[in-house]
């Protein structure tokens, strides 16, 4: 989340994943979930706003195609659990939507677009703690760019993307940005 560069016109950004690639890796992640969860009977997908929610929905759709069952899918806003709250003005909150049957005893798969420092996932685990007691929690991300600051790893990775800290990774999704792409660019030099 904190890795997004919101400027659209980044001249030297180059795509590392295009629309068809993204569709393909999400299909693969869905299959991996079914395989590791032995049928995905008790899987609940929770996307981390904003783009993680769209990815979770897409994965849920694919799971449904594979298993021919509806897979519960919701969202988990971690804003109020962040450890950097005091470093910025407060942010607007996004929706936390826990599917009807709750999380107790379920296999929760957190879904986010980019895994970077791991702090977002740390916050998400704290938030989950207040919402129920899942049987297990797993993590699916579209891109893992490295540079972890906490002992956190993803269970399902769309693409491992070794980056330097001077680079930015920007995920665009049709639901929010009008197209599917992952861009790798250079951080703007400070003014």
């Amino acid at each position: 989340m904190d890795t997004h560069d919101t400027r659209d016109t980044q001249s030297d950004a180059r795509p590392v994943l295009e629309g068809p690639d993204i569709a393909r890796v999400l299909t693969r992640i869905a299959h991996e979930i079914v395989e590791r969860a032995k049928g995905a009977d008790d899987v609940v997908l929770l996307g981390i706003p904003t783009r993680g929610v769209f990815l979770a929905r897409r994965i849920a759709d694919k799971l449904e195609q594979i298993t021919e069952r509806k897979v519960p899918c919701g969202s988990l806003d971690i804003t109020m659990y962040r450890d950097d709250l005091r470093m910025h003005p407060p942010r607007a909150l996004a929706r936390t939507e826990i599917p009807g049957d709750g999380l107790d005893g379920k296999l929760v798969v957190l879904v986010d677009d980019v895994l970077f420092s791991g702090r977002t996932i740390r916050a998400a685990l704290d938030a989950l703690n207040d919402l129920g007691r899942p049987r297990a929690v797993q993590l699916a991300v579209l891109v893992d760019r490295g540079h972890r600051e906490l002992p956190i790893r993803a269970d399902y990775v769309g693409k491992n993307l070794p980056t330097s800290l001077r680079e930015t990774v920007k995920v665009q999704l049709a639901e929010e940005d009008g197209r599917d792409t992952v861009l790798l660019g250079a951080k703007p030099t400070p003014q």
Binding site: M80, M87, P90, R91, A92, L93, D130
Partner: protein, 325 residues
Amino acid sequence: MQRHLISAADLTRDDAVLILDTAEEMARVADRPIKKLPTLRGRTIVNLFFEDSTRTRISFEAAEKRLSADVINFTAKGSSVSKGESLKDTAQTLEAMGVDAVVIRHGASGAPYRLANSGWIDAVVVNAGDGTHQHPTQALLDAFTMRRRLIGPDAGLGRDLEGKRITLVGDVLHSRVARSNVDLLHTLGAEVTLVAPPTLLPVGIETWPCEVSYDLDSTLPKSDAVMMLRVQRERMNAAFFPTEREYSRRYGLDGDRMARMPEHAIVMHPGPMVRGMEITAEVADSDRCTVVEQVANGVSIRMAVLYLLLGGNEPAVTHPRTEEK
């Protein structure tokens, strides 16, 4: 947003909508098994109440605790204040204990403004009602209740109250709730009408951004929400109106009058209600009356305000003011 919340008039339209949207998310916390967020962990908030108001204090306290703040309650009764200590000394004493925010209720209009602007303390000041001046979180929870009821909890997100017709009835003269509501509802695009006997309207009201009427019956059919203000019986002795009976006959809301309101319209009251005076039991207990909801919404609104003022390193950022009052 500004650093303190002193007056509803200090909020821009975008500030107010952000608070309402945030409160909508906070409201969902109340439905969880664990009604608590770690957001204000390590922050200390003092509830500095110079005036008795158990319900407002409890509402703030619940909001503060749900956000994991450390809460100090200070009531003037029996404290050093009753021994003649000044507001300044009290505030400075509390700040010396490391307080991040002061939620203040005071009988004197302007006391929170003074506290925030006199250089006495550095803490964030939230006005929990001052004299007959302002009660901004009450106005926010009222607007929140209106938006939820008249537009919908989800449909309302991001929206103001454009075009909604809100009528406030009763003792406007002595009401901080009325002042705050007029300011905020106007900012949110609602059309406000105040209804009261002329004795209970302040001289100078003509500059307020609202309509004024002495006739309740003609206003009711054109109202989406009717807010009844408390009328204290003591006012009768000061000749603001002849008798309780005459007041409730002319300005009280009973079943017949409620029937003249549009079907979707709601009845609101900031509490505590004086049943039989401004509102009959029939109305107070009806489905259209939102009194209990307003109390619940109060906690969500206060959580939102505290989060947006204290959750970061500075107040929440919204777009610059687009219109001037």
